[in-house]
């Protein structure tokens, strides 16, 4: 078969970085190509160029053998290229049907021919085996269904080439399976897929052909059947990944215990329902679940940012139910929030300032002049310099604003602050490796494991099931603010976990701990 996409010698420079450095790729018609690489490897830049959102400084794009030049995504659409963005481009307040036809409404005059639209879309759904209720509001649909709306929307626009940007990031394993089946079916009908991801298991499963990018360059092009995920990982990072640290047997005392904890927000919405959970020294409890099912409330209830409305929390046997964040922090409960840009860091502050934020009340960082308390800057800087060395934070200096750092290094600043100044007895790590490159992921995983082996209790909240399985001793699943599953990590499979996450299964007998 011929080539659907050819990108020849593409260069794109952003101030300070060469995002695409003479990149050439070829994708055959009707195939599934995976583009893998770490964050910042230039995958998104390349795809944005292909979709007309960015213009290359240099290079040529050919679609079906014809040279094209894109000035906007509209030009790309006209060449039958469609993109399913990582963050869906859907309007939650209008119906599925209206979302699909938006911008390409059928009807000769200004009036929309809803009958024709419905017929066309129903045909399309049947042909591709993706039934969606057309009259439902998009906001009422689960995420997996919303993604189907996006795919149908792209197909409705007549796309022959579909770019999927990190499509599985928000899906349960079952939804992922369904997506892959759909991709297989649709590509068999002659459509070409470009699939961006960093989950290597999925790459191996779904693709025909893999292109690996690193630092703006293509470093590998292989047929899927000729490679495996370890080889790919090595190519992506450029070096071997050290295996995760061994897990020591632990049988420590109970650090925190939540009994019948309930929580609701100011509008009366239930965030947490009857949570019963204990974490022991040297135990990592992994919290799985589709995001938005109470993970943040759970983390905040334990960290003390959110006080529970009923129930009891004890910490080393002491009643902690009404104790506020500041005291909990001083007593050794550290919290790495999921959103490091909004909650974890102050982006406009320097690395040094961020390195003690929250811990600035500790005596070593306070300089007293009379009754006034000032920050002891020399101590702060000294601490930051030590931290940068210990955690290998890549920054020009400790005075650099954290906004100038890469995602991985920012996350290292957060984890360093939460664990270095004062060793935590309980570490809450929410999405510790989201948007972080593989090198840093491996560092953070090993570091968390080290802490565990040194008797720190851990609560790991993650939407990445591989991460949950790699680190956790115990796994709980949150669904609509309730713990629907509580098991030893070794006693459950990913698929089964997926059923709990989707709310289609529920553990009958409670786990004893």
């Amino acid at each position: 078969m011929g080539l659907a996409i050819e990108m020849i010698d593409i260069c794109k420079e952003f101030p300070g970085t060469l995002a695409n450095d003479h990149v050439s790729i070829q994708v055959a018609k009707g195939s599934v190509m995976c583009l893998v690489g770490e964050n910042g490897a230039g995958k998104s830049t390349l795809m944005n160029i292909l979709y007309g959102l960015l213009r290359p400084d240099f290079g040529e794009i050919r679609i079906n053998g014809k040279t094209v030049e894109f000035h906007s995504s509209l030009d790309a659409l006209n060449e039958k290229i469609g993109m399913v963005h990582q963050h869906f481009m859907l309007v939650e307040e209008i119906s599925v049907l209206e979302n699909i036809i938006l911008g390409r409404e059928p009807g000769k005059s200004q009036f929309i021919d809803y009958e024709q639209a419905r017929k066309e879309i129903e045909d399309l759904m049947e042909k591709n085996g993706m039934p969606i209720p057309l009259d439902a509001l998009v906001g009422d649909l689960p995420v997996g269904m919303q993604q189907k709306v996006e795919i149908i929307k792209v197909l409705y626009r007549g796309a022959d080439i579909l770019i999927l940007d990190e499509p599985t990031a928000v899906l349960t394993p079952q939804e992922t399976d369904e997506l892959f089946n759909n991709i297989e079916r649709i590509s068999a009908m002659g459509k070409t897929f470009v699939f961006i991801t960093h989950k290597l298991d999925e790459v191996i499963r779904v693709s025909d052909f893999i292109i690996v990018m690193r630092r703006g360059k293509v470093v590998g092009q292989v047929k899927t059947k000729d490679t495996n995920k370890y080889a790919l990982a090595e190519q992506m990072v450029g070096k071997e990944i050290p295996p995760i640290r061994d897990r020591e047997e632990k049988n420590g005392e109970k650090v925190i215990r939540l009994s019948n904890v309930n929580c609701h927000d100011h509008k009366g919405r239930k965030l947490l329902k009857n949570i019963n959970l204990s974490i022991h020294q040297g135990e990592i409890v992994g919290v799985a679940g589709i995001s938005g099912n109470g993970q943040q409330a759970l983390a905040q209830t334990i960290s003390g940012q959110l006080l529970s409305n009923s129930g009891e929390i004890t910490y080393f046997g002491e009643d902690f139910t009404k104790v506020k964040r500041r005291e909990r922090l001083l007593k050794g409960i550290s919290y790495m929030p999921a959103d490091r840009k909004k909650e974890g860091l102050c982006m406009e502050w320097s690395v040094a300032e961020n390195s003690i934020a929250g811990y600035h009340i500790l005596h070593q960082f306070v300089k007293k002049i009379g009754c006034l308390h000032f920050i002891n800057e020399s101590q702060m800087n000294e601490n930051a310099i030590k931290m940068i060395e210990r955690f290998d934070i890549r920054t020009p200096s400790h005075r650099t604003k954290v906004s100038a750092l890469s995602g991985g290094n920012q996350q290292k600043v957060v984890i360093a602050r939460e664990t270095f100044v004062q060793k935590p007895k309980l570490l809450i790590a929410a999405e510790p490796t989201r948007g972080v490159d593989i090198g840093a992921i491996s560092f953070i995983h090993n570091y968390i494991m080290d802490l565990r082996n040194e008797d720190t209790a851990g609560l790991l909240i993650s939407s990445d099931l591989d991460e949950i399985f790699a680190l956790s001793d115990t796994i709980v699943v949150l669904f609509e603010g309730e713990i629907v599953c509580h098991v030893k990590a070794s006693e459950i499979s990913k698929e089964e976990l997926g059923l709990y996450m989707a709310g289609s299964k529920r553990q009958e007998n409670e786990y004893e701990s």
């Binding site: 659409l77 963005h85 859907l90 309007v91 307040e93 209206e98 979302n99 938006l102 911008g103």
Partner: protein, 302 residues
């Protein structure tokens, strides 16, 4: 005429000015843009209508010029907001203050009067005389109304149809919640917003023209007197849906009409004049409470 008919007739007479403006507010609300400038657009519209009518002797031309003029002002709003990224609240306040000053200034400059301008040469808007309704109770309120009353009601239907049945309507409805989605669907959001603001200006122009040529045939300082804000409240009341907004406007006009009639019967005017504003605040509070309760219920069920 009995009391009921008179109140109904007054309500209908007061309705169009607010209704036009609230439709203008409604469409900008749909693109998530609070247009507090309705008041200023209306005031300028009222002045332009009177001036043009005075010079040309034609209400038709006056309305046409007003609509074009206010449309251009709406477009200017769009340019300042979208191109120069000025805050819409700041622009709105500027427009309102500008309108207040400029109308005063030109009234003095062109007609040499202060406070109010009226002249027999100002031609008002035509009325639709339906003599056969005279003898029918209640319906006789409709027997001698300005054509603009019907135009306003007609525009409610038009807005409804445009919003829910046409391509541009769908795009407008989608732009408010998620402009990025509309943009990636290949629709120019920038142009769409320009259009919406321009039309919003035009509608306010109609409201202003009705105020000075339909309801009265004169111009006085600050004659809109908060009607633009009431219009905004009405579109809020109706959740930016045309039919709901119509009912909101009807409610406010009705309370206004009751106020006017009650004054004739000797209620203390200071007290009774508060009524429309009290009704406005109360309805908004009640609406907010109802909305919240609905949301809560939705959550408990979901």
């Amino acid at each position: 005429m009995d009391m009921m008919t008179m109140v109904l007739e007054t309500t209908l007479r007061l309705l169009p000015a607010i209704l036009f403006a609230s439709l203008g507010g409604l469409i900008t609300q749909r693109i998530k843009l609070v247009n507090l400038g309705l008041e200023g657009f209306m005031l300028i519209g009222a002045f332009v209508a009177v001036a043009v009518s005075y010079y040309t002797g034609s209400a038709m031309i006056a309305v046409l010029v007003t609509v074009i003029f206010c449309g251009l002002m709406g477009f200017t709003f769009a340019v300042f907001h979208l191109k120069f990224k000025a805050d819409n609240i700041v622009i709105s306040v500027a427009i309102n203050m500008f309108a207040l000053g400029i109308t005063k200034y030109f009234m003095n400059l062109l007609f040499g009067v202060r406070g109010a301008f009226s002249s027999p040469e100002i031609v008002g808007l035509p009325k639709l005389r339906l003599a056969f309704l005279d003898e029918i109770p209640i319906l006789s309120a409709f027997s001698n109304l300005s054509v603009f009353v019907y135009l306003a009601l007609f525009l409610v239907v038009v807005t409804h149809v445009v919003l829910y049945r046409t391509k541009i309507g769908l795009r407008i409805r989608a732009t408010g919640p998620n402009p990025m989605a509309v943009e990636t669907a290949g629709v120019g959001v920038y142009r769409l917003k320009c259009w919406v603001l321009t039309v919003s200006g035009m509608l306010c122009g109609l409201g202003g023209a009705y105020l000075s040529l339909g309801q009265l045939t004169m111009f006085t300082d600050n004659m809109t007197n908060g009607r633009g804000f009431v219009a905004m409240a009405a579109s809020n009341f109706g959740n930016a849906a045309p039919i709901g907004t119509f009912w909101g406007t009807a409610l406010f006009s009705f309370s206004d009409a009751v106020t006017m009639r009650a004054q004739l019967y000797g209620f203390p005017p200071q007290l009774i004049q508060m009524l429309p504003y009290v009704v406005t605040v109360l309805t908004l509070v009640v609406m907010a409470m109802v909305k919240e309760r609905k949301m809560k219920r939705g959550i408990n069920h979901g």
